[in-house]
């Protein structure tokens, strides 16, 4: 029994990356002889359990940091699309919740530079009795809305059918897939902003936009259900080119100046950013948590390096006696600390990247997280934090070693 357990322990130790690194160091010495690199590597993995735990601590902290930064990006930076620079959203200057008069359409479409314009009203209903539906529904003018679709394509059904049938809708491919829908199926929505419900027939499916989840339906239907109030939520405009966008924004704003419904026009991106700001200061929250993670990471690495060096004071004293200088010892400690931190960063950041890249988060979070992309910039931030901490963690032990005299070092541990 003992033999079997020993064998299992041996096999498990073979699975440890530290065992491989130790073996690599030994091979390095055999091929290239003893040198600073192999000396540092041998020392770094001499206590395999501690080295493994250190690497795992740094790895999990880095993974958490990368995840938080990715989450912050997901929540605060809207995805950019090719056509976003050509689209403008005009809303009521007072607030997004205030509607605009439908009669403004005639003025807006005459503004030079405007190629297309459609009412664009957020319905905010819940699908099939869901408590919170994660995809948005908008009432649009189907004929005009077609001109606003710069990217994306009709992947199923017919847009003309959508235009013809006032009770039909135009649905994103992700939503179709998620709910197992097909052309001709019904989609029922319970209104939350509006005291009306919708019963829509799927006429066409779109795909290839930055967000293939939305559902679009006839504004006329919404008007009819609400007793024709003569209002729209916002105006969605497309301009001739990105160069004229700012001029168009200024003209739209000016056109309704001093009217009963002043307008605030802005680019699609600016509009999305304004919408996000309503979520609260997500950035400060995630950065605060990231700060705590980084601080914990620092405590872990500093504590580990201090322990590792403290239990080697005698050896470092011997090295000093043999003629190694303070800067040599500092280099050894720094390389060891940096190496462990770098390995932890590689495992943690690589692991986070693999996890969030290959996991279907959109499905798992019911569409709350759409892209959750671990960008090179985020990975670089994690790596820089780990590297800086690796260096900082080496400073304390190095100073202690620099201050230690050979005699002290020998006395302490003899």
């Amino acid at each position: 029994m003992k033999g079997i357990l020993q064998r299992i322990g041996h096999i498990l130790s073979l699975l440890s990356p530290m065992t491989w690194l130790g073996g690599l160091a030994r091979l390095w010495v055999r091929w290239f002889g003893l040198g600073p690199f192999s000396f540092v590597l041998i020392n770094a993995v001499r206590n395999q359990r501690r080295a493994t735990l250190t690497v795992l601590s740094v790895a999990s902290s880095c993974a958490l940091l990368v995840t938080l930064l990715t989450l912050q990006r997901e929540l605060t930076v809207p995805p950019e699309s090719e056509g976003a620079s050509l689209r403008i959203i005009a809303r009521n200057k007072v607030s997004l919740a205030q509607p605009l008069p439908a009669k403004q359409l005639a003025t807006v479409e005459k503004i030079p530079g405007v190629v297309a314009v459609s009412p664009f009203t957020y319905f905010g209903g819940n699908y099939k009795g869901e408590e919170m539906t994660s995809f948005a529904q908008f009432a649009v003018d189907p004929a005009r809305f077609r001109e606003l679709l710069v990217e994306g394509r009709i992947s199923d059904g017919s847009y003309d059918e959508f235009i013809k049938d006032r009770n039909s809708c135009f649905v994103g491919a992700d939503t179709m897939k998620r709910y197992g829908l097909k052309i001709g199926d019904k989609m029922k929505f319970t209104g939350t902003f509006y005291p009306v419900d919708l019963d829509l027939k799927i006429a066409a499916v779109f795909q290839g936009t930055v967000d293939d989840r939305g559902v679009f339906f006839h504004h006329k239907l919404l008007d009819e259900l609400n007793g024709d109030p003569g209002t729209v939520g916002t105006w969605y405009l497309r301009v001739a080119s990105a160069e004229v966008a700012n001029d168009v924004i200024a003209r739209v704003n000016k056109a309704f100046e001093n009217s009963t419904a002043e307008v605030r026009a802005e680019s699609e991106r600016a509009f999305q950013m304004g919408f996000i700001s309503m979520l609260g200061n997500v950035k400060v929250l995630t950065l605060s948590i990231s700060g705590v993670v980084v601080f914990t990471l620092m405590l872990v690495t500093v504590s580990t390096m201090s322990m590792a060096i403290r239990e080697r004071f005698r050896e470092l004293a011997i090295l000093k006696a043999l003629g190694f200088r303070r800067r040599d010892l500092f280099s050894f400690i720094l390389a060891e600390s940096f190496g462990l931190a770098a390995l932890g960063a590689l495992v943690g950041i690589g692991g986070a990247w693999a996890l969030w890249t290959f996991l279907d988060l959109q499905k798992m979070t019911n569409g709350f997280l759409l892209y959750f992309e671990v960008t090179p910039r985020i990975m670089a931030s994690g790596a820089i934090v780990a590297a800086v901490l690796g260096i900082l963690a080496a400073i304390g032990p190095s100073l202690a070693v620099a201050r230690m005299s050979v005699v002290e070092g020998l006395k302490t541990l003899d």
Binding site: V29, F32, G33, L34, G35, P36, F39, I42, N43, R46, R314, E315, I318, L319, K320, A321, L322, G323, F324, R325, R326, D328, S405, V406, V407, L410, D414
Partner: protein
Amino acid sequence: MADPIVVIRDLSKVYRQGDINVIALNGISLGISAGEFVVLMGPSGSGKSTLLHIIAGIDSATSGEVRVQGINVANLNESQLADWRNQNVGFVFQSFNLIPVLTAHENVELPLLLTALGRKERRQQVEIALGLVGLADRGHHRPDQMSGGQQQRVAIARALVTDPALIVADEPTGNLDARSAQDVLGILQSLSRDAGKTVIMVTHDPKAAVYGTRELHLEKGELARDSVPS
């Protein structure tokens, strides 16, 4: 008598322990010639280890002067002193002080990493040093795979691999059985007698002292007797 390799003049060392000054060495003056095997003896706290450490450049004196091969060790800065120790002094300690994760060969090679020698030359030097202490075939063994006596012989090989003029040994037989102690003392004696190395050894053991060519007896930080071991 040959010119002294170590010249000590009016050497004093005072430690501060709280509010009290403890005199470890008090006005020591002596000269040690090249090739001598000097044994430092005396009761605990007599200052023999302190004297050894100051001669070897790992501790500093409060006053007085130590010259080794004409160099005033106190005038060297940290880097110069490190280089000087690497080139001129070999250390042997009571508890061997080998690096446990390195093999015997690598432990002996360590001081050579600071020299300009190439890998091949380093290997040759290490093999010679291990051969001199009778461990040519144990180079690939780690310290925990060797006996105390063998570990101390590896430590001696490490001490002489850079071909230093001076070998300092602080109670090198303190942790060894009688047989291993004899082997180690025999090697140190041979280094002094046959290789012309100057060996300074601290010991409590009168039997070890007979291997030396000169015995210095310290008491309360002062040189009480300078004699030939009998």
